[in-house]
C-alpha cells in the first residue's frame, strides 16, 4: 500500500511538473537567450530575425552562414546538459525524434522552458514560425515569412494538382534499402507534388524494404535525396533493373537532401525541384 502511494506521489509530481513546464512557456513573450537544439529551428529563428539571440546549438546547424559561429553543445548522439544549464537560457527548442529522448527528459526535469518542434508537413512549419514569433516578440516578421511561404507553397501545389498521380519510390538510403512510410515528412512532400509513395501502406515511417518489392511495384520515378556518401553508388543499384519504368525512362533523380529534409522555408525550393522531377514522368 505504502509503495502504491509512493508511486502515485511520484507520478503526480511528474505530471504536475510537466504541466507547470507547459504553463511557463505561455508567459514567454520576448525570449532573449535561446538554445536551439535542431538545425531547422536555427534557420527558422534567423528567418524571423531572432538569429542573434541563439546562444548555443547543435552540429549541422549550417544555414544561414552566420549560424556557423554559434557555439555547439551537442549532436544527434547527445546534448551536454551541463552546458545548457550554464548558459541560463530563457527558451530551449527541443526536436522531438531528433534529440535523444533521455536528454529531453533530463532537460524537462530541470525546469527549463522547452519548446517542442516536430514538423510532419509544410503547414507545420508555418505553425512553428507563428509560435516562435510569439515567443520572441517578433510576430510581425514571422507573419510576413509565413505569408510568403504559404503563397509559394500554394503556387507549387496548384501547378501539379491536375494530371495523374505518379508512382514514386523515395530512396532514403541504399544500404539497407530504406524508404519512407505513411505519415512521414517526405511523404507529405510527395503528396504535395501529386505523387504516390509506392510504400504508403508500410507499417513504419522509415521501413527497410526488399528490392523485390520495389521491382514489382514498378515506380515511375525514383527520388534519391543526397546527404552524405557517394551519390553514384546510391543510384548505381538500379542500373541493372531496366524493367522498372523509372530506370527505363531515365527518371532516377538525385535531389539535394538538405533542401528536402530541413523543415524551413527553404524546403519550398526542394519541393519545386522534387515536383519538377516527378512531373517529367507524367
Amino acid at each position: 500500500m505504502k509503495r502504491i502511494f509512493f508511486t502515485l506521489a511520484i507520478l503526480i509530481f511528474i505530471v504536475s511538473n510537466k504541466l507547470s513546464a507547459e504553463n511557463s512557456l505561455s508567459k514567454i513573450t520576448n525570449a532573449q537567450r535561446i538554445i536551439a537544439l535542431a538545425p531547422h529551428s536555427v534557420e527558422l529563428l534567423y528567418a524571423i530575425g531572432a538569429g542573434d539571440r541563439i546562444i548555443a546549438t547543435t552540429e549541422y546547424s549550417d544555414y544561414p552562414k552566420e549560424a556557423l559561429g554559434i557555439p555547439r553543445i551537442g549532436n544527434a548522439n547527445g546534448i551536454q546538459i551541463e552546458r545548457v544549464v550554464e548558459e541560463k537560457p530563457d527558451l530551449v527548442i527541443v526536436w522531438e525524434g531528433g534529440n535523444k529522448s533521455a536528454d529531453v527528459l533530463k532537460l524537462k526535469s530541470l525546469g527549463l522552458n522547452l519548446f517542442f518542434t516536430k514538423p510532419l508537413k509544410i503547414s507545420d512549419i508555418s505553425q512553428e514560425l507563428k509560435e516562435l514569433g510569439n515567443l520572441t516578440g517578433l510576430s510581425e516578421r514571422a507573419d510576413q515569412v509565413i505569408e510568403q511561404m504559404e503563397k509559394k507553397h500554394k503556387q507549387i501545389t496548384n501547378k501539379y494538382k491536375r494530371g495523374s498521380k505518379v508512382k514514386t519510390f523515395y530512396q532514403l538510403w541504399h544500404d539497407p534499402l530504406t524508404t519512407i512510410g505513411p505519415a512521414s515528412w517526405s511523404e507529405s512532400l510527395l503528396n504535395d507534388c501529386n505523387a504516390e509513395n509506392i510504400f504508403k501502406d508500410a507499417l513504419s515511417p522509415y521501413p527497410v524494404v526488399p528490392i523485390e518489392s520495389v521491382l514489382v511495384k514498378n515506380p515511375q520515378v525514383i527520388i534519391i535525396p543526397s546527404h552524405s556518401g557517394d551519390d553514384e553508388t546510391k543510384s548505381k543499384i538500379w542500373e541493372k533493373w531496366s524493367e522498372i519504368s523509372a530506370v527505363k525512362n531515365n527518371h532516377v533523380n538525385i535531389i539535394d537532401g538538405d533542401l528536402l529534409h530541413r523543415f524551413t522555408p527553404r524546403v519550398l525550393d526542394g519541393l519545386q525541384k522534387l515536383c519538377d522531377a516527378i512531373d517529367k514522368a507524367r
Partner: protein
C-alpha cells in the same frame, strides 16, 4: 543405432529439400511453385538456346520481371543463406570439439568484431568506395585472428589461454568499432548496424564461389582429420599418447574455421547463434561421432538459415528484418524445445 541415424538423415535431407522449395516461392513477393519451375527449367532453356520456337515461347509464361527476381535476387540469396548456415555450423562444431568448450562458436576468437571493424572502416573512413565492405570485413576478420595469435604467442598452445586471448581481442576491436560508429553520420551508422545484424539481401552470384570453395575445402579437411579431432575431443593427454600433434592440429583447425567464418561474415555480416547451437542440436540428434555431427550440421544448419531468410523477408509485409535478430529469436526457442524434450527422456 545405425538405422536410427539413417532415418534422421533421410528426414532432415527431405526437410532441406522442402526448405529450398519454400525459400524459392516465399518472400516479399509471393510466387507460385509453377512460376518458379517455369523460370528455372523452361524459360532458362529459351534464353540459353536463343531459339524462338513457338512451343517454348508458349510454355515460358512468367513475366520477365519475376524471372529476373528469381535468378538475380532470390537464388543467390538463398544459396548464400544455405552456405552461411552450413559454414558457421561446421566451424562451430569443430571449434567446440578441439577446444572442448561447449560455448565455443565461430566468433570466439574475435572474428566478428574484427570483421565489423573492417566493415566500419571501409564504410566510414574510406567512404569513396575504393574498398568494398566485403573486402574490409574480410581483412578485418583475418587481422583479428592474426592479432590474437601474435598477442597470445606461445600461450596459444594452451586451450584456456587461447580462448581468453580471443575474448580480449574481441573486446578490444569492439571498442574501436563502437567509437567509430559513435562519431559517424546517422545514415552510415544505420548501414553499419544493419550490416552487423546480418543480411543476405545484397548477395550476388559472384559472391558465392569464395564461401563455397572455403567451406568445401574445410569440410574435406575436417573429414580427413576426423579421428584426430575426435581424439583431441576426448582429452589432450590421450591424443598425445596416440602420437597426434595436438597443439599444431588445434591451431590449424582454428585457422581453417577462422577462414570460413571470415569469408562468410564479410558477405553477410554478423549472424550469431547458428554456429553455437546447430552443432549442439546435431549432437542431440545423432550423438557425438564427428562425421555424423558434421553431416547433420550441413543439413540442419542449411535448412535453418533458409527458413530464417524466409521469415526475415515475409514476417512484416514490405519490410526486411535483419537476419541476426530472427536467427537468435527462433534459434533460442527451438533450442529450448529440444532441451525440454531431452530432459523428459533422461
Amino acid at each position: 543405432m545405425k538405422s536410427k541415424f539413417f532415418f534422421i538423415a533421410i528426414v532432415s535431407v527431405t526437410i532441406l529439400g522442402i526448405s529450398f522449395l519454400f525459400a524459392m516461392v516465399m518472400g516479399s513477393v509471393e510466387l507460385s511453385f509453377g512460376q518458379v519451375y517455369n523460370t528455372l527449367f523452361i524459360c532458362s532453356m529459351d534464353q540459353n538456346t536463343g531459339v524462338q520456337n513457338i512451343v517454348a515461347q508458349n510454355s515460358c509464361t512468367v513475366d520477365p520481371i519475376y524471372r529476373k527476381i528469381i535468378w538475380e535476387i532470390r537464388l543467390p540469396r538463398i544459396l548464400m543463406a544455405f552456405l552461411t548456415g552450413v559454414g558457421l555450423s561446421i566451424a562451430g562444431a569443430i571449434l567446440q570439439s578441439v577446444t572442448r568448450n561447449p560455448l565455443a562458436d565461430p566468433y570466439l576468437f574475435g572474428i566478428s568484431s574484427g570483421a565489423a571493424l573492417g566493415a566500419v572502416l571501409a564504410i566510414s573512413v574510406f567512404s569513396t568506395g575504393i574498398i568494398s565492405v566485403t573486402f574490409g570485413a574480410l581483412a578485418g576478420g583475418i587481422f583479428s585472428v592474426i592479432l590474437m595469435l601474435t598477442l597470445a604467442g606461445r600461450a596459444a598452445l594452451q586451450v584456456e589461454r587461447l580462448l581468453l586471448s580471443g575474448v580480449a581481442v574481441s573486446f578490444m576491436l569492439g571498442a574501436f568499432t563502437s567509437l567509430i560508429i559513435y562519431y559517424s553520420d546517422p545514415e552510415i551508422a544505420s548501414t553499419l548496424l544493419f550490416w552487423m545484424m546480418g543480411s543476405f539481401t545484397n548477395s550476388q552470384w559472384g559472391d558465392l564461389w569464395l564461401p563455397a570453395l572455403c567451406i568445401s575445402i574445410g569440410l574435406m579437411l575436417f573429414l580427413i582429420y576426423r579421428s584426430w579431432i575426435g581424439a583431441i575431443q576426448a582429452g589432450d593427454e590421450g591424443a598425445f599418447t596416440l602420437g597426434i600433434p595436438v597443439s599444431q592440429l588445434r591451431l590449424i583447425m582454428l585457422i581453417i574455421c577462422s577462414i570460413i567464418t571470415a569469408v562468410l561474415v564479410a558477405q553477410v555480416g554478423g549472424i550469431g547463434f547458428v554456429g553455437l547451437m546447430i552443432p549442439h542440436i546435431s549432437r542431440f540428434l545423432v550423438g557425438s561421432k564427428l562425421s555424423k555431427v558434421l553431416f547433420m550440421c550441413v543439413v540442419i544448419g542449411g535448412s535453418f538459415m533458409l527458413w530464417v531468410d524466409v521469415i526475415a523477408h515475409s514476417l512484416i509485409p514490405n519490410q526486411v528484418l535483419p537476419v541476426g535478430i530472427v536467427t537468435a529469436a527462433i534459434g533460442s526457442l527451438f533450442f529450448f524445445v529440444i532441451l525440454k524434450s531431452r530432459g523428459r527422456n533422461l
